[in-house]
Every structure is written in structure tokens, then in C-alpha cells.
């Protein structure tokens, strides 16, 4: 694994990518904890993984196909039932531009 310097800049950048705002208190608390976790991950470098395929699933799975036909799905009303942010049968979101 590449040697990663877990510092405040990296932490804030990654948190930003994940759409999280961190307080100064959180940054102070998380920094040593994250360093500790990344150090433990580096143990995986010892394992010889040459010629191994990744296991994206633990058990072999087959592709599942179905006919391309419209099936019953939830109603527009149900889809909007859990939010106050809606208008004219659509979700209403924050400004994009």
C-alpha cells in the first residue's frame, strides 16, 4: 500500500468528497484514530495475492435476467410519502446552479 500521510488536509478533503463537514473537535479526535486504522490495513501488504482474482461476492453468483417488461412498482404518492420536499409530483431539492 502506498505510504499515506493522514493529516488534517487529507482528512478534510476526503470528508468533503463524502459530503461531511467536520468540526475542529472531530478533526482532532478522528486524526489519530484514522492513522491507527490505516496502519492496521497495511498488514495486508504481507499477503501474496499474485494470480488471485478478487472476491466481490463471497459465493459464486450467476447473472440473473428477466424479460424487459414494466412491472408493478410503488406509486408516485408512496414515493413522495416520506418527504416534505415535493412539488407537482416531484422531489424538490436544493439549488444546483
Amino acid at each position: 500500500m502506498p505510504k499515506v500521510v493522514v493529516d488534517k488536509d487529507l482528512l478534510v478533503k476526503v470528508a468533503g468528497n463524502a459530503r461531511l463537514n467536520l468540526t475542529d473537535g472531530e478533526i482532532k479526535k478522528f486524526l489519530p484514530q484514522l492513522k491507527d486504522v490505516f496502519e492496521s490495513f497495511s498488514a495486508l501488504d504481507e499477503v501474496d495475492i499474485n494470480s488471485l482474482e478478487p472476491s466481490f461476492q463471497p459465493i459464486k453468483l450467476e447473472n440473473v435476467f428477466r424479460e424487459d417488461v414494466v412491472e408493478k412498482c410503488i406509486s408516485n404518492e408512496d414515493a413522495l410519502a416520506n418527504t416534505p420536499h415535493k412539488k407537482d409530483g416531484y422531489f424538490k431539492g436544493p439549488k444546483v446552479i
Binding site: P2, R19, V37, A43, I49, S55, P58, A79, P94
Partner: protein, 466 residues
């Protein structure tokens, strides 16, 4: 009373479904404020179901779970019932559909009691990492944890004096750990045996819905109802009935490195004594790679998958929301920063990093290849033995004051015994092997993929041995 006997009594009219529901409602109403096993409980909802089941009985219709009270881990969607997976970010969310497992148990006449407390999205070993509800307390000692993340499931299973089974969920050990700490029986099936449709994902390639009960037979009946291929979950598998097979001279493997890594000799002695009392042939086996690398590979994969799953929580379509102001990035970040707890934030950050351009191959992909190696190690050793058996947890239920002192990495290391089976998607069951100073010690039995019925049969034999 065992669930199968209870169903017979309900069917024959010896037990009134309404009176029984009233009894368990009374129990939860009087004890939940003390133990917090449920984070959503509504007595009217339970009693209304009992009245419907009574009509069903009068109409001559039965069911494998007729009138059986079932608690449901908060991360499993129940139509019309607030379901938050232990997280504030899902405050107010009432699913408009049932998870497949809920549909199945309703079809068999079960009564849903409510939603049980858990770590936020399953992120924890002690049910202390939550932002919705209160921390569930161990019924054997209220200063100690029920375990996690299915803490409420195990806590109530141990506490109740009534017939009851629990729908629980495991990603890295969230069924085996709390069952061990609370002294109840549990089954975590092969990955895919039970449909995940309607389960709020933690890590898709690891999540499994399973069961808990006062005995393996109780947990088995619930699991057998829940299993089966589902067109709504393309990873679900075809399976046969889980009727317990007769085992012909099974050989059980005792993983040397795992036993060596557990420092508490008394826990090891209790587990070994239970195994020898059943009279099975046991032999020492070696699983060095799983013991050494299981925790790191698991956490890397689990966090990477969790960080993508939690991306959908943005305060727009359901759950926690705010006033729509600022641009979309500000809005989403504001809601997410308020709604997630510390452990969710840590896992999202680590997982996001491990998937970032330039790091993905070195972290995420490497962990996935290590996983292949660890599965191969298991498969190879299963040529020598039928099952592995070992302590489910390296400790008995810790005190909350002890948990507070653990760093996140010390916390994750507690999953040493449970993580490998979960990473490999292999079936495992736990039973209570005995007690260390009045605290339960769990014994975990693990088998090869799709050997669920054999694992359960073996665990049941151990459970019966004295």
C-alpha cells in the same frame, strides 16, 4: 415454551393469541424503559395484529409462525413502522413496503412486536454507536453491553419470559456477538440464503439476515420461513428445507491460531468442555491467514461498501431533512453531518478514501483478493473436518465503562472470531456454552457454504449435551 409447541397450542386454541399478545405487550411496556431493547414499540400496533390473527384462526387458516411474537432489527423495513437502522438520519422514515422477510413471516401468521435497538447501520460490536434510541442493556447485568450490532434482538430474546424469536442481521458478526453476550442461540446463514430486499444495507457483499431464539430449534424455524430465492434480490440463492440432517460421525476442527489469540483461558476451557461433553471427534486445525488478516480485510471491504451505501442519505427523499437553502452540496453536507454519528462518519471517510482514484487498487482491490485467499484457506481445511468450533467472542460482555476506553481499532479487534466466517459468507450458529462468573460464554460453530442445515444440526447436538 418452544416455538413449535406454541404454534400447536395457538392452533388448537389452548393459548389465546390475543391474551398472549397482551401478556408480551405488558412485559415490554413495563421493562423497555429499563432495558431499551426496542427503539420503536407501539402496543396498539401489536394488539391489532393479534386480533387479525385471531380472525385468521377462526377462518381455519394456520401458519408456521401462527401468533408467534417476532422482534425485528431496526434495519429491516416494516411497512408503516418507523425504521431508522439506529440512525438519526432516518428519523421519521416509514417504509411504504415490507422487506421480503417481513412479507414471509406475516404470511405465516407472525406478530411483529417492534424494532430492536442496534448500532447505527450495524457499525459496532457493543450497540453503543447509535444516534436513534437508547443503548440496550444486558439483562444479566445492566452495567454491561448486550453486544452488537443486533443488541436489542439478543437482549430481548434473553430477557423475555414469553415465546419469541428475533430477526437479526450480521455483516461481520452482529448476530453471533450479541447472542454470545446474552446467552441465547443464533444462526447466521450462508450469504444469499435469505433475501436482503428491504434491508438497509451496511455492506452489500457481507450483509446477511439471520435469526435468534432461546434455542437453536426456535431460531431454525424462523430462518426456514425467511430463506429462499427472491426475484427482488439477485444475490439470493435457491435452497432446500433446513430440516436437520442426521450427522454421521462429524469431525470438528479447533482452529489453533484463533484459540492462541484468545487470552481468556476460562472462556477457552468452557468452550472446549462443551465440545468434549458432546462426544464428537475433535482435532486441531490451522487457519493462520484468517486469524491474522481477517479483521483488516473485513474492515477495509466493509467500510468501502458502507461509504457508497450511505451516499444515498441526503435529506431529500426520506428521513432527516432541513430547510432547502444554499447549494446542493451545502445542503447535503449539512444534513449528513447532523444525522450521522461518529462511527458512521469514521467509516464513511475511511471507505471513501479506500475507493479514491489512485488508492482503490492498493486498498479495496487488494482486500478483495486477500478475501479470495482467506476463502480458499477455509475451503482447503474443510477437506479435513466438517465444522470449526471456537469461542464466539474473546471476552464476556464488557462493562460500558470498559468499552468507553477502547480506541476504534481495539474495538474492531474484538471481532477476531466472528469476522472470518462473515467475510467468507459461510454459515455459523452460536449456542451458550456455559458461564464465566455468571456471564454467558458463546460457542460458535461454522461450516462450509450452504451447509447451513448441518451446522444447525451440529449446534443443536452441542446445545443438548451436558
Amino acid at each position: 415454551m418452544p416455538v413449535s409447541d406454541f404454534v400447536d397450542s395457538i392452533q388448537s386454541g389452548k393459548i389465546s393469541v390475543v391474551k398472549n399478545a397482551e401478556k408480551i405487550v405488558k412485559e415490554i411496556s413495563s421493562k423497555n424503559s429499563e432495558f431499551h431493547h426496542f427503539n420503536n414499540f407501539d402496543s396498539d400496533y401489536v394488539l391489532a395484529q393479534a386480533e387479525q390473527i385471531e380472525k385468521r384462526i377462526k377462518a381455519g387458516k394456520g401458519g408456521r409462525l401462527l401468533g408467534v411474537p417476532v422482534s425485528v432489527k431496526d434495519c429491516v423495513c416494516v411497512k408503516g413502522v418507523e425504521s431508522r437502522a439506529g440512525s438519526k438520519i432516518l428519523s421519521g422514515y416509514k417504509p411504504v413496503f415490507d422487506a421480503t422477510v417481513i412479507e414471509k413471516i406475516k404470511n405465516e401468521g407472525a406478530i411483529i412486536l417492534g424494532k430492536t435497538s442496534q448500532d447505527e447501520f450495524g457499525f459496532g460490536t457493543f450497540s453503543v454507536n447509535h444516534t436513534a434510541g437508547k443503548i440496550p442493556l444486558n439483562p444479566l447485568d445492566k452495567t454491561r453491553s448486550c453486544g452488537g450490532s443486533s443488541g436489542g434482538s439478543a437482549g430481548f430474546t434473553a430477557l423475555t419470559e414469553n415465546t419469541h424469536v428475533a430477526i437479526a442481521e450480521s455483516t461481520g458478526g452482529s448476530i453471533a456477538c450479541p447472542a454470545s453476550f446474552c446467552g441465547v442461540a443464533s444462526i447466521t446463514p450462508t450469504y444469499g440464503l435469505v433475501s436482503r430486499f428491504g434491508l438497509m444495507d451496511y455492506a452489500n457483499s457481507l450483509d446477511k439476515i439471520g435469526s435468534m431464539g432461546k434455542s437453536i430449534d426456535d431460531a431454525l424455524l424462523l430462518l426456514d420461513v425467511m430463506r429462499g430465492k427472491d426475484s427482488k434480490d439477485s444475490t439470493s440463492l435457491d435452497s432446500k428445507s433446513l430440516e436437520k440432517p442426521v450427522l454421521k460421525k462429524p469431525v470438528v476442527g479447533l482452529p489453533k491460531e484463533l484459540f492462541d489469540a484468545i487470552q481468556d483461558d476460562e472462556i477457552k476451557e468452557i468452550v472446549l468442555k462443551k465440545i468434549s461433553s458432546a462426544g464428537f471427534t475433535a482435532k486441531e486445525i490451522s487457519l493462520p491467514l484468517n486469524t491474522k488478516y481477517g479483521v483488516a480485510a473485513y474492515y477495509l471491504i466493509a467500510m468501502a461498501e458502507a461509504s457508497t451505501n450511505l451516499a444515498k442519505y441526503c435529506g431529500m427523499r426520506y428521513g432527516l431533512n432541513g430547510k432547502l437553502e444554499g447549494n446542493f452540496n451545502d445542503y447535503f453536507s449539512g444534513v449528513r453531518s447532523t444525522g450521522f454519528g461518529d462511527e458512521a462518519k469514521r467509516r464513511v471517510i475511511i471507505g471513501t478514501f479506500a475507493r479514491m482514484s489512485g488508492f482503490r487498487d492498493a486498498y479495496y482491490l487488494r482486500a478483495m483478493k486477500v478475501r479470495t485467499k482467506l476463502i480458499n484457506e477455509f475451503k482447503s481445511v474443510f477437506k479435513q473436518v466438517d465444522f470449526f468450533a471456537f469461542p464466539a467472542m474473546p471476552v464476556v460482555a464488557p462493562k460500558f465503562s470498559e468499552i468507553e476506553k477502547l480506541t476504534p481499532m481495539e474495538n474492531y479487534s474484538m471481532d477476531l472470531c466472528t469476522v472470518p466466517a462473515n467475510l467468507a459468507g459461510m454459515p455459523h450458529a452460536t449456542i451458550n456454552a456455559g458461564f464465566k462468573e455468571k456471564l454467558p460464554v458463546g460457542l460458535m460453530v461454522m461450516g462450509n457454504h450452504l451447509h447451513d442445515a448441518k451446522v444447525v444440526s451440529f449446534a443443536s447436538k452441542l446445545e443438548d449435551s451436558r
